[in-house]
């Protein structure tokens, strides 16, 4: 078992007791809730005559079903309106703060937590959403939970968990031009498999990780779950602290920053920490990665050939055959030139300000291809506002992108933003599962935001390194 890692330390600091099952009861420092997975949990509380134990450590937002075009109430979709109304009522009754769209703070739950300074190093953070692993970028222990577990957390402020192993993923070297955090995590999942992280928490380390900004670290931790790891984290450092200092929480409570810093420092993994496994990745070798299949592990470098199923591990072959049939791709081809119908720039993986900046630098002065509908869905209202202020909205709109309001949108097609029929989508999101973007025949190609921009303007999957940056936008 691991020893002296951030995971071990944060676990120990939050352990209340060992339960008769052998699981540990862990204190939850931040519980984020949204409209899709929480209403049933509140219903269960009511059935059992229970109330919310720690409402001030709970925070709500609306993201999955919120329309990104017309947000006037009641929402056009009755089901969406009902879910929103239910969340409003639950939050009000329990005294839970709700970043609803009227506050200007609404957005995807994994974007707003870090923005507001709710996400901090050394916290345990849970949410009924598998991409809760995102918050690990700050050195928090963060993971997704199901609705019955939400009930537990609401009722008790704690969760029953079994301790996992820790795998250190050491990413050395430097990323080449056009290669991003997204490419690192897609490569990790390709190499270790979509189930490779089951039973593990991932610690991302090494100079390629340390040199990333918080947004890049979030993109990586976000997709830990795509590799089977329920949580992933980066040890907090000066980059982390610089972000925190600017957030609402520490602007409003500057004394807390100095008070908490020693704690943050204390939970960093020790230099001589013991891990259950260590994996090395060389960042210098990476190029932009795109997926050819229907799991996030089915990725390749943009200039690499699509693998033949028979060349893969035996347990991957059948999945690969099904995927290639669905995607209509042939082994031996590269993904470059794969025609797309939709370009989606959004999601909790890649819809933060630097993501939009980098994509805008490719888009500026170009036009969205005639056969493509392209949309930008900022991760939060704050991202949307900031992007507009620095002119990114204009750049995208002039190029022919639709500029939308914040939400999960076409990442999972729970609102009006969906693929139709067998449309192919260049997507900055995190899952290319069959049906994920709202159409069961839809085809999703995952890639980094600049690659989405390149696909939008060329009408096909393209190597962004071959497109010159056209603008002076500071990426």
């Amino acid at each position: 078992m691991s020893n002296g890692t951030l995971y071990d330390k944060v676990w120990d600091r939050h352990k209340v007791t060992e339960l008769p099952t052998g699981q540990d009861q862990l204190f939850v420092g931040l519980h984020l809730i949204h409209e899709v997975t929480s209403p049933q949990a509140f219903g269960m509380l009511q059935e059992r005559d229970l109330t919310v134990a720690y409402p001030k450590l709970t925070h709500a937002t609306v993201d999955h079903i919120v329309p990104t075009a017309d947000q006037s109430r009641p929402y056009g979709d009755d089901a969406a309106e009902r879910m929103m109304a239910e969340l409003e009522e639950n939050a009000r009754e329990a005294g839970i703060e709700f970043s609803d769209p009227t506050t200007g703070d609404q957005g995807i739950v994994h974007v707003i937590g870090p923005e507001q300074g709710l996400t901090q190093p050394g916290k345990t953070i849970v949410c009924g959403d598998s991409h809760t692993s995102t918050h690990g970028a700050f050195g928090a222990l963060a993971f997704g939970i199901g609705t019955s577990q939400i009930r537990d957390v609401l009722a008790t402020g704690t969760i029953a968990m079994e301790k996992q192993n820790v795998r250190k993923i050491q990413v050395d070297g430097e990323l080449g031009e056009g290669v991003e955090a997204k490419d690192i995590i897609l490569e990790i999942i390709r190499r270790l498999g979509t189930e490779g992280g089951v039973g593990y928490v991932y610690e991302y380390a090494g100079e390629a990780i340390e040199s990333l900004g918080m947004e890049g670290r979030m993109s990586i931790c976000n997709m830990s779950i795509e590799g089977g790891a329920r949580a992933g984290y980066v040890n907090p450092d000066e980059t982390t602290y610089a972000w925190l200092e600017e957030t609402d929480y520490f602007q409003e409570n500057p004394e807390e920053f100095e008070k908490l810093k020693p704690y943050w420092e204390s939970i960093r993994s020790d230099d001589d920490a013991e891990y259950d496994d260590i994996v090395h990745i060389d960042a210098n070798e990476l190029e932009p990665v795109v997926t050819w299949g229907t799991t996030p592990g089915q990725g390749i470098g943009i200039s690499d050939p699509i693998p033949a199923p028979e060349d893969l591990d035996e347990d991957k072959q059948e999945t690969a055959r099904r995927a290639q049939k669905h995607m209509r791709v042939e082994p031996g081809e590269s993904m470059a030139g794969y025609e797309i119908d939709v370009a989606f720039l959004g999601s909790c993986t890649n819809a933060r300000l630097p993501d939009l900046r980098r994509a805008a630098a490719i888009v500026e002065g170009r036009q969205v291809h005639d056969d493509v509908r392209a949309m930008v869905v900022p991760g939060s209202q704050r991202v949307q506002k900031a992007a507009k202020k620095e002119g990114l909205k204009d750049i995208f709109e002039e190029a022919g992108f639709e500029w939308r309001n914040a939400g999960c949108s076409m990442c999972l097609g729970m609102n009006e933003d969906q693929l139709e029929g067998d449309e192919a989508c260049a997507s900055s999101s995190n899952r290319n599962f069959v049906g994920r973007q709202g159409s069961k025949d839809g085809r999703t190609v995952l890639m980094n935001p600049r690659m989405v921009a390149a696909a939008a303007v060329t009408g096909k999957v393209a190597d962004v390194r071959e497109l010159k940056e056209t603008s002076e936008v500071d990426a």
Partner: protein, 213 residues
């Protein structure tokens, strides 16, 4: 306002019933329950949408799928392959399977959040190696009326004349067999210690900690 003592938590040491094979690795929760069926505020009625897009075409006409076949309609033990339930944390997935009629799942491997969600519903997720699972899936195809006995306590599965060893995660086994898989009341009973823990953590502000009951 804290009367959870009346919630009955059954012990799940044993599940018996006929089987249904669902083949394929990496079957994600978007397959098990497509997101559009999650626009609901309760889990009621989700059973009919289990595996919907694999079971029905665009005109809602049934396609070839085990859950559509007459001989599997009464099945309660699902036999699956590797990394079953990967993807989203939606409890809607095991809820849909449970409401369709599934009481236990035997597979090569399960995604962690999915297995945790199953446990929270009292559904065992037991594992065996690839060959054992494929043999069992074939047997179920040939014997749709044949009973499968999942002995959670003994970590065995019996079908036909055979008894095979399976693995049940330690905590899952204890929780199911001892009837402590619904952890709300259990954890609530430690409220005093929880409050103490909150007071110890440097980032939890005093005003966020409720007064003792």
């Amino acid at each position: 306002m804290s009367g959870t003592d009346d919630v009955e938590i059954p012990e799940v040491d044993y599940v018996a019933g006929t089987g249904v094979p669902i083949r394929g690795n990496d079957i994600d929760t978007d397959q098990i329950i497509p997101a559009r069926f999650m626009k609901v505020v309760t889990f009621d009625g989700l059973g009919e949408f289990a595996f919907f897009d694999l079971r029905f075409d665009e005109n809602d006409d049934p396609k070839d799928h085990p859950l559509n076949e007459a001989q599997f309609q009464d099945a309660s033990v699902m036999v699956v392959n590797n990394n079953f339930g990967c993807g989203s944390s939606r409890e809607h997935a095991p809820q849909a399977l449970m409401r369709w009629g599934i009481d236990a799942i035997i597979g090569e491997g399960f995604a962690e959040i999915f297995a945790g969600n199953c446990l929270a519903l009292g559904i065992p997720t037991v594992t065996a190696d690839s060959e054992t699972i494929q043999t069992l899936q074939d047997w179920v195809d040939d014997n749709p009326d044949g009973e499968i006995d999942v002995d959670v306590a003994a970590e065995t599965v019996t079908y036909g004349e055979q008894t095979i060893d399976v693995t049940v995660d330690d905590a899952q086994r204890k929780a199911l067999v001892e009837g402590v898989w619904d952890t709300t009341a259990l954890m609530k009973s430690n409220a005093g210690e929880v409050r103490k823990k909150a007071e110890e953590l440097p980032y939890v502000r005093e005003e966020a900690i409720p007064k003792a009951e």
